[in-house]
Symmetry: C2
Subunit: 337 residues, 2 copies
């Protein structure tokens, strides 16, 4: 059976089961609308460490270990880890996972990392290379702000289009055998360039990438948006979400009321002063690894499309006048194979 549908969708022959997930977040995320779905909420932004970078590693490590515990396996039973984060040289992931003696594939997909890691992890299982793998990522508001924008101590005013980087980590263990939910299809992202140069308007920069990948997914699979009980994009926030809705409406396609975005869900946009919504690798990852996957157990949905979005840029590229590139990887998860 061919695994490729259309131009760029993989139809998995041996769909892996999402066997366990875990989400660890910070206080603000814990106080948001999804607070009760997370495995752990830290009221210490340092997670017991001395720096925010080390805090991010500690959070990711805790999330990985919690996920192993929930699957009732030891870390060394994991055959490969697919991980990355927003810190320069992805040190959040590397230092978090250095002690586990597990083959490590380091990724950089910006805030789309949970999509990229789930895609490659599922391919490693479907391709017959591994039976048990882990996809994990993180972001931390404090390490991210000082690296990408301003030192927190500076107290800069944030623009209305800006988003709030989620302090959170999400992990998923995929297994070759299991009773689902299954990863059935993958539509990998292409890099899109909408020409947007405002690093405080990431949602608009990433929306064309989400549109491109979702459109390719529908065309390749012959599915319509209604096929899915819910479609979740990554961290577009309210502006990016609305831009995606608009782009599809121009094609005469309604994404419907079951389309939402993890950046809108994780915070109370009216009460939590996060402007356009949440962002960061940890945004879609922690929402996926808690509310979304628990929704299968709770009977909220049986077929979802999870499409994390990422902005490929650095402070240096922005200073040199480059625009903000977008990418989005889409993953179908279904109760039945």
């Amino acid at each position: 059976m061919t695994k490729t549908l259309g131009k760029r969708t993989y139809n998995l022959n041996n769909p892996p089961t999402v066997a366990a997930t875990a989400a660890v977040v910070g206080q603000k995320e814990g106080e948001g609308p999804l607070g009760r779905y997370f495995d752990s909420i830290s009221y210490d932004s340092y997670f017991g460490e001395k720096t925010w970078e080390k805090a991010e590693s500690a959070m990711l490590r805790q999330c990985f270990l919690t996920c192993c515990d929930k699957k009732n396996i030891s870390p060394d039973e994991i055959q490969a880890i697919f991980s990355g984060d927003l810190l320069n040289q992805c040190v959040g992931s590397a230092f978090a996972l250095k002690d586990f003696n597990v083959p490590y594939f380091g990724l950089y997909g910006a805030c789309s990392t949970m999509g990229e890691s789930l895609a490659l992890a599922a391919m490693a299982i479907d391709g017959g290379f591994c039976d048990t793998v882990c996809a994990v990522t993180s972001s931390h508001f404090c390490s991210s702000e000082r690296q990408y924008r301003f030192p927190l101590e500076y107290g800069g005013q944030r623009t209305p289009t800006s988003q709030w980087t989620v302090t959170g980590s999400g992990a998923a263990i995929l297994c070759a055998s299991g009773n689902g939910p299954y990863i059935t299809h993958i539509t990998p992202g292409i890099i899109t360039d909408a020409g947007i140069k405002d690093a405080n308007n990431m949602g608009s920069a990433m929306a064309p990438a989400a549109y491109s990948t979702l459109k390719a997914h529908f065309e390749d699979t012959g599915r319509s948006p209604e096929y899915y009980d819910t479609i979740f994009t990554g961290d577009l926030g309210i502006l990016g979400h609305d831009a995606v809705v608009d782009l599809f409406e121009r094609d005469g396609i309604s994404l419907g009321k079951h389309y939402t975005d993890c950046g809108i869900m994780i915070f109370d946009l009216k009460k939590q002063d996060v402007h356009a919504g949440g962002s960061g690798c940890g945004c879609s990852a922690s929402v996926f690894a808690s509310y979304i996957m628990q929704g299968f157990e709770r009977g909220l949905w049986s077929k979802i499309l999870f499409a994390p979005t990422g902005a490929l840029m650095s402070p240096t590229s922005t200073q040199q006048g480059e625009s903000i590139l977008g990418i989005c990887h889409a993953i179908s998860i279904e109760s039945a194979k």
Copy 2:
């Protein structure tokens, strides 16, 4: 047939052919011992651009396009690109490849990236997801020095153990069908921590990772070092190379005279003032995509093990007192399946 040998080696059932490779380098690399094997040598360190970061993207783009030309296909016939580099947020790769409308998997493996990208690209083919994929990476001396160490204008003295970041890019197109050379086995790396904190002694920091992966490869496959005509590690330089030889000698294993390192090969260590050798993603990538793969055609070898090494660290992690982590991914390439 099972694809997993031992603890962490994949035995590919449908080994992809390395159908074309290309290498683009800077002037210093062009003046080194391997100069005549590269496809293109730029005597302009800016590659026609205004900044070194844009120069790195231009070099990687040129390398990717040269590789497509050598395979006689257009870029949009590539079904997936696996790419990454050393720049913060891997902007070298993203901006180089933004215009090609090809599914993009961004990687961060530091200087081991060519090994990681070849591994995942080969798995995408062997797993049945793609027929034609590209693995590509780059590094640039000038963008790397100012990001990791000092501004070039500072004119800092380099320590004797330091290595010289290669200005170079290497690309490989892998195909499901072809007459070889074939990627037959993959041993992915685990993160190792040798406790070394001197960012000017990367070779020693990465040597234990190379030892770990090569040892696992020999144990998993039952092969001895003599099985291979030549074993190439990534960018250990002379100090790291000798450390790997020593580590195996403690086990009573001689790596033999056919073990060498891309960081030793690319420069004339006596005449080119590079101290311990070459480094950077572009080091192993450009040597692989030129001299090593041309060696199959020239009859120099028919079975090689290519094992790029990477140092997982950032200036921030080093400033915070963390040690330099190492990783190494090994790829068997053989004329016969």
